[in-house]
Symmetry: C2
Subunit: 409 residues, 2 copies
């Protein structure tokens, strides 16, 4: 087992010596650089390891170096933080987490969002296509996904401007334009690609860990009213492109050895390229808080498709991967009513408002609302691997053009 660290780690800290997640931080008046979280501190890797790979504003250079290097660096950091003899040399590279600012940890290449929760897809199907089969015919045969907007990935804590757009309220013939009235969350898990591939090649399900560096939390904010009007036949566009929040700490796959588990039993035969020889289901327990109140506990174990299957499908047509490619699982929803990862499901499209402990009710998000998603996973020796959190607060936003936009048109 990993010995304790000479850095004090509070009991409630997600960042034990078993986690060692990577992020990009800047000390006051200092440039951005790569750090690793330990307890309430951030270790400046460029300084601690004397390696300029980490004296950069993103993780991308390190991501591109590949799995063997990722494992070596993790071993080096573990040694630094657990060997008391290394404390005198290492301690000057520690910053108090409260004193640094966190940034988006990687420069995103392409962003793909999947739809891998059977419970989520079935709930949405029941709401939008009542009386029909809730899952589309291909759902059990391939992990449905689509490309999102990489340029609007933002780090946790970034304020989220309520998007404006066209909607066509029920019973009306002509669309109206204005701020979204059905602003929702989607609690998801994200996967950061380290090493790329050549055009015309594919990544097999068993090669997942050679390409994916680590895992983080995602809130894929969604404007349900914009989505309903725009999405047929080419899929969601403005309903999701305004912002996607990402947690600042990337947990390396090597920290999740004890979280691996078999996915749910398959109820349809799989093409060979999706037959998962290794168990890449992940036992992550998510929690969603709205203004501090726990509103759902989505279990990632309930996801039908694994991240290894998502990557194999994304590349089976010969599409290449680049360092910094990012893909998310889609909304994580479990079978239980308190395990749903979106307000659309938790309030059944607004028909069953949530009552918060403070007595207020919610269907969708109001200006000023703050949503925080956190997660933990099994670690060694009964410990928990923490992911920290992704949080965002809704603001009416500084709205510029079109200056003459109104809601009443």
């Amino acid at each position: 087992m990993t010995p304790d660290s000479w850095v004090p780690v509070p009991d409630n800290s997600p960042f034990t010596p078993h986690t060692l997640p990577y992020g990009v931080f800047a000390p006051e008046d200092g440039p951005r650089r790569v750090g690793v979280a330990i307890g309430d501190h951030v270790l400046d890797l460029a300084r601690a390891l004397g390696d300029d790979t980490f004296a950069r504003p993103t993780l991308n250079a390190f991501l591109a170096q590949g799995r063997t290097r990722w494992q070596q660096v993790r071993a080096d950091i573990t040694a630094l933080l657990t060997d008391a003899a290394r404390r005198p040399d290492t301690e000057p590279a520690l910053h108090r987490a409260a004193d640094v600012r966190m940034y988006l940890p990687f420069e995103a290449a392409d962003y793909v969002d999947f739809y891998a929760s059977e419970h989520h897809a079935a709930n949405i199907g029941r709401m939008l296509r009542p009386g029909q089969e809730p899952l589309t015919p291909q759902w059990k045969h391939l992990p449905i996904g689509y490309h999102g907007r990489a340029g609007t990935l933002v780090v946790s804590g970034t304020e989220i401007n309520r998007p404006w757009g066209q909607t066509r309220p029920a019973g009306t013939e002509t669309p109206s334009f204005g701020p979204s009235r059905k602003l929702d969350i989607e609690a998801e898990v994200g996967f950061v690609v380290g090493t790329g591939t050549a055009l015309g090649t594919s990544v097999g399900v068993d090669d997942f860990a050679d390409h994916v560096f680590g895992v983080c939390l995602v809130n894929d904010w969604s404007a349900r009213d914009l989505q309903a009007w725009e999405y047929v036949p080419l899929g969601p566009f403005l309903a999701k492109s305004f912002a996607t929040s990402v947690s600042p700490w990337i947990v390396p796959l090597d920290a999740l050895r004890h979280a691996r588990t078999a996915p749910p039993a398959r109820t349809a035969p799989l093409q060979d390229y999706l037959r998962d020889g290794k168990d890449w289901g992940l036992d992550l327990s998510l929690e969603i808080r709205l203004n501090g109140h726990l509103v759902a506990r989505p279990p990632f174990t309930s996801m039908y498709w694994t991240p290894a299957q998502m990557l194999a499908h994304m590349t089976v047509n010969g599409a290449s991967l680049r360092t910094g490619d990012f893909y998310a699982s889609g909304t994580v929803s479990g079978p239980g009513p308190d395990q749903r990862g979106s307000l659309m499901e938790l309030t059944w499209n607004g028909q069953e408002p949530l009552t918060l402990p403070d007595g207020t009710t919610r269907t969708f998000l109001e200006d000023g609302d703050e949503v925080t998603i956190s997660a933990t996973a099994p670690g060694p020796d009964g410990t928990r691997i923490g992911f920290g959190q992704v949080t965002g607060r809704i603001t009416a936003g500084p709205r510029t053009a079109p200056a003459d936009a109104t809601e009443t048109r």
Copy 2:
């Protein structure tokens, strides 16, 4: 009018002194750098202007400098190439186009593909949803679009590997896996974003030319059989993510002053943010050649939505723009049967094969087929502005994993 250039310009050349498109080239054994095409030559801008902005492997640094700078540089280049007194200093910076290799001219940020041709959308609707209204209800109210894969944009001339994937042939219950049997083209026009915007802001229709630098040709290769099985409800994914070909020369908006025209009459009221105060319809005449045979002449004047409206819509929700963002018009199809921009339309989903002058017939693309899309637009004094071409040849491809893939499963 612009005087003639001292550089010889063949009569059939698309690149007169009125065009001056930008690209990225590399001389034999030399690094990539920015050039401008004139006749059969390429001008090395870093050398000719003594400006390191152009001694780079992409146009992005120049794109980020904004419209005033774009106009100044165009004026400087015009002076260099038309003033005979500048010939002695400038001639050493000229390369014969046949001696250089062209590269993707910009580093793509996000890639968005629209669906802006009413004739194309209606044709597809008639084929896929017979008996129903061919256009979806929102089609005349907003330019439908979706995000594509920026990482698989390739420069003209790159071989296109036939994609593999899941399909469900008509009349079968379970999907099969193998090479696409309905590999198609989409003749489109692309727009390169130069200057970005902040999250939470929008670009008005009248600010189009402040953000978009130039225009090029696009072939958005599409696997119709993969698309039919995967695309409900989140849109096309693997059917289009394997490759999108882009012409090597970006024609600046300033070269298209004489190509501007009013879009078709609007048959539905527009939201204010889509009311186009300036005419940004473009009179581009496209030609599609299959193995050298002219098969269609799609007119860009027939596009219902203008590129200014596409940009305004893409950002109206507050989504930010980045230098290098790229968006395409969607398939350009006119009203005539010989004006359709895809084989799916030209052969009515394979029911009416094309017979080529060499006696062979085509429904969709076969291995070895080469598709070339070219275009011209009105220039000053009765001249034509040429875009050059985007070309690609289909290959069965070097296929790696999954090694055990078969078509018979």
